[in-house]
Symmetry: D2
Subunit: 313 residues, 4 copies
């Protein structure tokens, strides 16, 4: 099979990209994300049609946030779009006249990294995506493992603190409340509030108030040695690494891949995550350790992964 199109449905824009068998993106087209379910279907089809112009496309893969069923056809539930049992595969197939595969976006990104990024050569890889929230994907025995009903690898909603922070999912103490971009901002704001004298750089990058602190400020301030910013990354890493240690107890992969916007900071965040992982790894002296690797495909992982999953049918 030759070229396929991967579609990434984001909160603000929908990107479609033509991808070849080596995971190379040949063409892309981007449209704003509409607010209604039907508008989104329209937008997906338009982006696919536009990106595919002049290419011979054989299939389409769509990555979407939410629960996707075991047939990779229906979105059971989406946190940010009003989809409930939405037959996305059928709707798009009818419109674009190509085979369509729907996949959870974090699964798609994990597959992209496994096939063409940091996971190449590994048979058993666990990916985590530290974006606004925390997602991930499981590759075992060279296959994406989606669970019996399609909703495996919801790492962000594993409970790490009993009676802990409320989560958008309705539960409490979910991992993504402690290890994610949103958590990082909360850490920084809380610390800047309590000890502003340690956050002068950080506060100076925003509007001077704790509430004005945003993710990009924390990275920049941490690079400049701002104590609150550095400590916020350390706190994030403490939870991320401890969670990876738990995943090692469960899955024992040969590698973890850490992606998502937070991981764009590279060693600033990866180094403390590795330390924390080692700190908490159970039985660490008696077992080989998984590698903790930075993702390589950036925010293209989902698009490329979705395209490749479509190729595989």
């Amino acid at each position: 099979m030759g070229l396929t199109i991967g579609v990434d449905i984001g909160g603000t824009k929908i990107a479609a990209g033509v991808v070849d068998e080596e995971g190379k993106i040949l063409d892309t087209h981007t449209v704003p994300t509409p607010s209604t379910p039907e508008g989104i279907v329209d937008a997906i089809c338009a982006a696919v049609s536009e990106a595919g112009k002049g290419h011979r496309i054989e299939a389409v893969g769509i990555g979407a946030a939410g629960y996707v069923d075991d047939k990779r056809a229906t979105v059971l539930f989406a946190p940010n779009i009003d989809w409930r049992h939405e037959p996305l595969k059928d709707k798009v197939e009818q419109r674009v006249g190509l085979p369509v595969v729907v996949e959870n976006d974090a699964n798609a990104a994990a597959w992209g990294e496994y096939r063409f990024g940091a996971g190449q050569g590994h048979e058993d890889v666990i990916c985590i995506t530290l974006g606004t929230g925390l997602g991930g994907g499981i590759i075992i025995g060279n296959k994406l493992r989606r669970g019996r009903f399609g909703v495996a690898a919801e790492f962000g909603h594993v409970r790490v603190v009993p009676d802990g922070l409320l989560c958008g999912c309705g539960s409490q103490g979910c991992w993504e409340q402690y290890a994610s971009g949103r958590a990082l901002v909360r850490y920084a704001r809380q610390r800047a509030q309590a000890t502003p004298e340690n956050a002068e750089v950080l506060l100076g990058l925003g509007d001077g108030t704790p509430e004005g602190i945003e993710g990009k400020h924390i990275s920049e301030a941490a690079r400049a040695g701002d104590l609150v910013a550095v400590d916020s990354f350390r706190e994030l890493a403490r939870w991320a690494g401890a969670g990876l240690a738990d995943l090692a107890s469960l899955f024992d992969p040969s590698a973890f891949i850490v992606g998502g916007g937070v991981s764009d900071e590279g060693e600033l965040v990866l180094d403390p995550i590795r330390k924390s992982f080692r700190r908490w790894l159970v039985g660490g002296r008696h077992r080989p350790h998984a590698q903790v690797l930075a993702a390589q495909l950036g925010n293209k992982a989902g698009l490329v992964g979705a395209a490749d999953l479509a190729r595989q049918g």
Copy 2:
């Protein structure tokens, strides 16, 4: 392949059993567990030889507590025996002259239940064993998943309480400190200490002191309606069910199988576990629910599973 022998190495005795292709045990032989590594090898070989008399045996499968390497040959580490990188497969093969497979005992038990017990017909099953501690096994896509290095499915050592109870593994807050036979006894003793007026039946079954309470007393007292005993089971179930909900977020299996001595109590413990599982399952309204099933093979699961794994080579 015809008959194989499964070996189960317990804390007090080593059992070897001849098992046919339907998982039926044709013959068994049991010897006491010696205290030295070499003594244990001797005992395994003696039990195998004795059990196999009069049968044509084709392979031997050994289930052992501890980390078993990816080749299913070497015990990397055992918690209760002084094994460090013990080449158990080679040692036994040389002595019994048959192919040998070594497997983690909880993995072997999970495989036994999947093949011949509660897991039949499921492709994706997670087993947990509530014994003295908490172990388990992962079947995905009809295969036992051992991890890249052989040490996956160490469920009991996932951290469920940050800064929680010390565990024998050196870590803190491990799931098995909250959901296991040992935890059940602790719950009962603590409650009987604090409110002896609610534990009259329970205290009466032992020597009258909280320290004298043992697991069997708790089951009997719970059946008689003893408040502390009932509440202790409920506390165990609270943690067990919440952990299963986390495993559902990770693995999304079609079924969970609950085995181990604690599960011998049947619905007394399974019913509250199911309730707690439902209580904590993330996204429960938007996804199919895994079944929570009682194990069917009792304490033979490990022996039968090890024998079958040997058959599969």
Copy 3:
């Protein structure tokens, strides 16, 4: 000294009451709570003037939510009113021409209960108020203990869960997030969401949705045996009682008094609180136990207490 006026500043109304030396309320006047700081001063003065008509008043005591300074004159900070270092005593004294004492409302309520309610005859009493949030007051050696700077007894903001629920105060894991009227509603909604089959009575009292559940529904449903409602009270009691056990380790009073709207449910909530208190009391076999008593003055405790504090000068 004879009659004094107590003022209770609530979220929706301000009540002034003429109180005699036995804590009896002779006259009251109530006005709506204005939205601005100055409006509130006006309203206080109007209520005092109106209530006092025909009485010879010697002093005024005002109970206000927030931090009140060590001189009982200035509100340092109020959570619901835009007061920052508000010289409330001076402002009201100038207008009403009487000595004024300002006190934290939970402190005032504690004093009221100690003098004329459940705390009579005790020298060392700890009061907790389970209202929307959780407040309290400390009486040691027959004196209200306000701390060096006036802000003691902020029980609701003691951390009971590290990395726990966000609190309006900016911290996490505060006791009032787990033991308060607001917590009770959260417990009920979460449980009704997860297991609606156990909340039929409860859901039927509101609009049928978990979000429609309110505090009054939970009490009524609990009385009717609704499982979710009963379990929600039990969860509240679990946290309330464990917190009282901690307060016993710290203060070792002869009695705890439990007031606030939640305590209006009487034994429905007090009985499980007592059980939980006993469960968690450290060293319980080696020490006398404090009593856990229901408050007696209901929502008049603050007004009566403030009036009496004014009398004492």
Copy 4:
């Protein structure tokens, strides 16, 4: 009143000291601690008699670990000595012919610091003692507050982690499991186990193994910049400071005094405790902050305090 004798009952020795009205120790005598209750009474009397030789003594104060009743006469329970309702005051009075006061040792130490050490000039002081465990004392309004039944200020057994570490008291998650000398050693051993490459100095000071690490090694290694040692102190300080913030919410004192063996390290431990205190203090921007002071009397605080309490009768 002139001279009194203070007695400090330690785990290995019993010290008696003649103390004047300025808290100065004029003479001391020390004997080994016997193992039986009666032996200890003998030893106390012997030490008192020996120390008092040549002085005109008016009273004796005894500091003992455990619960002391409200009359300061009977030890209700002692954790390390087989005392249950031991009438220590009567027994010693009969033998030495002087008025005797018995006090909890941490209370006595707190009183010593308040009268002659870091607490001079403060009316409301909370002392915590970071020794092997965590104890403390409460001074409010210039008086030692012992609670209604004599067992207040058991700070070490406030629950700071639900379902946390087991404590010798039978409860779980007690503060002293996280902030004490014993906790410090645990932190260091766990970290040295997980990441020995960061503990080279620390491991070198003992026998090279994590188990060989002792408290004194951690201080020395921290001074030399050993990462694990520094991080262990930071972890201790994290818990100590968060606990002080809770005590500020409860007691609002003008000062905290930190004593006990751990505090001998001075700013190495006090500086991070202060930072952590500030980090967690609720409402910190709207209230005056208590000072966090180092104790001044070292391990003499208990003896001096007991002597002074005896003087006050």
